[in-house]
Symmetry: D2
Subunit: 416 residues, 4 copies
């Protein structure tokens, strides 16, 4: 009684997506995977782009679809890829985001210390592999970059991986920021493999340039939009406050969230027992929202005000600049805020704070550049191949400083 699991998924971005193999279907059906339906891809970005409510579930299914296309292109170009490798690469991209928690880019590091979302992804994969009798082992190898054919890993995680190609296009689509649209079809058509490395054929240079520019636009227009960052940092402060309170007094939370607030969870909790992972597997956006709503009428003024303002989108003011903010100015604003809201020196730090933001999450920890395969057969880095001299600056980490404080203080402020 083997069920035919060749399914079709309707996707607004690509149209129909085929599930080409039972193993793909089985992973999608796994509870750890279904959980991604309950985690929005872009956290609080829908506060600025109301359409951007899409989930990590859609993203990874989309990225898997692009992987399918990319492998077809390579096959067409006579690169031999076995069935195991084919499904392995698709599984690796399908599962690469399993370890994300709610509002991940903001809250990564809050729930557990010393363990990245990639580490957690891997723990989930290993669990799923147990449940599926080791059928996804090749996928895990590729994900871990232990598989000998390195270009497969580059398709999962690299400067031009299917992750990025999907999220730029998808985030663009749902946010309505058309500048982020990239010609993922064309980039994929230009992929090739040379000496076991993923390369882009020469005539794809322009598309790669456009991709880099589009990514840059998406950082500053969507991912790191001032209002989005303000909302996300408020959320972080809320959870820090809740954690502070809960050490002394119980407040309403969902049980899974309670676990991560009450205890100081580190890598060891994930690796030495299964409890942390099990609790993490339960956690999603609804834990945060359901708790926030309750906290908005909590007796703790700091907690309740922050929650109420975040829920009602009555956000704090955010200033942004390339240099650190002047300490005198910060303490001036802090003092005014403390007075205005009758807050102690300790508590006012939840209302006024400075932070650094960067596009790091999107750019670093990915080893190499983008290799262009010239018509004469040579390889050249995009930095040399493009005649935009500093094209690679587009990939660099840009750090900016932000200062956050209640809007009420703004009008009182004397600009220095």
């Amino acid at each position: 009684m083997t069920k035919n699991k060749k399914k079709i998924i309707n996707d607004p971005v690509y149209g129909f997506i085929n599930i080409p193999a039972n193993i793909i279907y089985d992973v999608i059906s796994h509870p750890y995977f279904q959980r991604l339906r309950r985690i929005k891809q872009l956290g609080l970005s829908d506060y600025v782009y109301p359409g951007a409510t899409h989930t990590r579930f859609e993203h990874v299914v989309g990225a898997t679809h692009l992987m399918h296309s990319a492998l077809d292109v390579l096959k067409f170009k006579k690169i031999k890829i076995s069935k195991d490798e084919r499904y392995g690469a698709m599984l690796a991209i399908l599962m690469h985001d399993l370890g994300h928690g709610p509002y991940s880019h903001t809250l990564e590091g809050f729930f557990a210390q010393g363990i990245s979302h990639e580490d957690i992804s891997l723990l989930f994969m290993e669990k799923i592999n147990e449940d599926l009798d080791g059928r996804i082992s090749v996928g895990i190898e590729i994900f871990k970059n232990k598989y000998e054919r390195h270009f497969l890993h580059s398709l999962v995680s690299g400067q031009l991986d299917m992750d990025r190609l999907d999220y730029l296009r998808r985030d663009s689509f749902f946010s309505g920021v058309s500048e982020g649209v990239i010609g993922s079809d064309r980039i994929i058509k230009m992929l090739n493999v040379k000496d076991n490395e993923l390369v882009v054929e020469e005539k794809g240079i322009y598309s790669v340039e456009k991709f880099l520019i589009a990514r840059r636009i998406m950082y500053w227009q969507v991912y790191l939009h001032k209002t989005v960052v303000a909302a996300e940092l408020m959320l972080l402060k809320i959870l820090e406050r809740a954690r502070e309170i809960i050490q002394n007094r119980e407040i309403f939370t969902t049980p899974a969230l309670h676990y991560f607030l009450k205890n100081k969870i580190t890598r060891i909790h994930f690796t030495d027992s299964e409890i942390a992972l099990k609790q993490f597997a339960i956690l999603d956006d609804s834990d945060i929202l359901a708790s926030l709503k309750q906290w908005s009428s909590d007796e703790d003024k700091v907690l309740s005000m922050l929650c109420k303002r975040l829920l009602d989108r009555d956000l704090f003011k955010l200033e942004i600049q390339m240099q650190p903010f002047d300490e005198t100015m910060i303490s001036d604003i802090t003092k005014k805020t403390a007075e205005h809201f009758h807050l102690s020196e300790h508590d006012v730090r939840y209302f006024v704070f400075s932070d650094k933001i960067s596009n790091k999450a999107y750019t670093t920890d990915r080893a190499s550049g983008i290799n262009i395969l010239l018509k004469n057969g040579e390889l050249r880095d995009i930095a040399q191949a493009s005649d935009i001299s500093n094209i690679t600056t587009l990939s660099e980490t840009v750090k900016k400083y932000v200062l956050i404080y209640p809007k009420e203080i703004e009008s009182q402020r004397i600009r220095s």
Copy 2:
């Protein structure tokens, strides 16, 4: 210090949406309105169409944008519309969905009896009107159909209102079901007013036909898709079970949900005190999800199994037909299910049940037909004006019967 509230909202469906007046902005900023960000437009439809995670917030902002266009078209055709009427009509459509609760089409009637979501919308509007010093009174009049210029109400609620024009297009966009796409631009261009009634000019007939067909496709392909209905009915059973349990034993719920589970809430609770409305204003999708996750490990087997299966998308089988299901067959399946899962006669009803579904929610309670304004100045109903003889059957309520039971029973079943 009057703030300029002329804002622009990025919408993936229409591009840029202008907020043309402070009063529109003020309503959007109200907490009762912001709450709509936390309620998905299509409930559990994203179980079939993963992109369909858009919210009621986006929908009503989009519908208000269409209203803006429609009023511009009428103005171009020399229909006099005052500023108050203009903003009134926009406010009416903006607020018409305020009374929706989480998973509304399924759960309407579950939280409170004897009161519709339109009634609750009105209660919310009146509260907002108090907060805004009566500045939205004309909008409320138009919503209630008490305003003398009847065509304005028809634009809010009628056979061709801006609500429908937006949701068909938007649901189509996010689900990826291109058959639901309608030429809302063209229909709007064809609108006119004759004798105080909204009419469509003759050359718009084909577009109206296409609109009716597209709506029909969306019912059966999206809104009433088998899998979606199965998931939604499972959700309803879950909440019924939780309500049953909670009368005797406390289980984890968010406080707002607790209020509606523990108590039997009716219209009078909404109208005679403010508590019900306040609790309802807190309720959103996250209350349901956060509770479901906890219940999936509850000691009550019925509750936990239903929750686990719904969360993991391991749904019950749903059969659908035009006639009621045969009683013998139902009791046969019921018996087998009870045996298989060791359930009592009472409890098995949560696993096997029949129900009626219809497209009623989308078609009825809207007074009149669609009037076509012929070139010679006469009015004719679309039923006469179209040469598809029974075009109006497309608007009729279609009732179908569904039978739901665990998939495990399927293979045991002897088909009659």
Copy 3:
């Protein structure tokens, strides 16, 4: 030295189109095929829809792409299709429009009598087959419906063939009439073969309904749009006048057009010698336009006025109704026109004339209905399977009467 002819064509409608085999490439490269680049798909429709300048070339390449998809779907559903059949079906659709001349829907029958464009397509195919050493024979068999597997022919020419699926979508795309958009992807996904016949699976019913409605919208909104018809009938009158003049006096024409104006060409000229076919192979839109421009300053007042007005889009008035026009009215208008322009009784017939138009070109001569494959395995015609009772009226030939006369006469006219 075998050249790799696997090419990719950029198509704005479908994105990238693969040319999967050398034989497809060879046919596309043939001069008879390249000629289709010079014939617009929609004749004078760009007078109303300026974007609709796409050519027959693009259309047939697009239809071939859909054929490719459809055959993939059938293969996925375990219908055995050999390589010869695969390419045969693709070639048949690729070449099915070879016999179209310039402004085909209007001028069909003008250049040659007793021979249809399908007949001419076949003659061209046979020539190409000679040039390609018989490699397209299977394609010709399928085109002629002589091939035993009948469903292949149905994909080329039937109620739901790839021709229609492409032209509706493409004409919609280029004209900007979004109501004509069809979900061709979904229809193709629903195709199947039962007893050697092409069928649509039950859940495709709604898409088929939408397709029929969309087709109807395209007839009346684009193909038979009043202004388009007026322009096309003026073009026909121009060529009739030119033919009349050229019997007595030489006027400027391109040589190929001259051949068809000066001589009375019938089927026998095509079949018994090669001259007619050769001349026809030269003829395209540019012959018409180049001649018209010259004629617009011809000494013959009828010819020059008609040409000048058509070129400048200063079109005659067109009235349309379901019944024949009243003879008295026509003769009244005729008389007034003759007076106003000082025209003889003979010549005025080029300025005032009545005609019939119908959607015939799009609907008839295609044998059968659309078969729906019910879930229980039975076949049913869409007419029975759809619950829109008279859905098939959408496919019927509708005849309308038009009356054309100069706008100058309009104001003088007393309406009866």
Copy 4:
């Protein structure tokens, strides 16, 4: 009896385009304007991108639509613009391409020497102005940059004018090269006026960068695509050959083309008499095509071979590089070609030739850079404001060298 000329044009790119004033309608109706329907926007680009058959007519109507939007945005930002200025700017952009002849980018300079297409546009405008009793004088002033409010001219012709915004988007749409898509909506929303100059607000920087990249992509991927350039240069050679022949022997041409082939037309013919302008007004793509087809069987071997190959898309080989081609190599190829085709030294130059191509047509002769209006009120050039250091190189003229010769010679060639 004033006719209401408020019309709506269906455009596949923008949807509905309103004609907001009679004077716009009157210009569109003028024969000199209607002629643009018969000139393709991208010449022979449809040889590579079959969808790119759109005309100059659509382009200028689209650009006028963008002008309308841009003026609305400026009005919203409190820039006073009178009705005359409003329609003036729209008329200027509407008419700016009137002076283009067939296959303009290739053949500019062939038909007449010492006069640019802008000069001819102006001559046409002046004629139209006479016909319309001086009602478009302000538009002409703006076009000529004689109108005091300089930003209006910048909207017509500048680094970020409505011409470019439309053609990039439109050419992208019709060619299917999605990398060329630009967020014209967002750029327009960011426009402002400062000190009588058109500026872009700071937050529009990313969109401007994307615009510059997209433009660059379109040059090399579409406008200067190798195959397109090969075809266009072959066309130029054909016309040069025809001109050479026609000095001694009459060959078939349309009369308008004959005028420009037989005579050596210069600026003075356009300015001192009306004949040249009248003949030019007749000339369009059909003259070229109709003549080419006839010439393809001419007795002159050079002419007939070139024509046949161009018509059948059997194009010459084109090599491209940054440096001039080696003279020895060219003479080697020339010699081989002369032998292979039995051509004289004179005639072989039509088969083998080198040329320079550049993106000049799209970049130069536009005075100034793009000014960014910083949040602090200062102006800065995009070159400083962008942190892509050499962003302006994107606008520089890039010169490349091409070498063209028959494919037959390729295989014989020894690569150096």
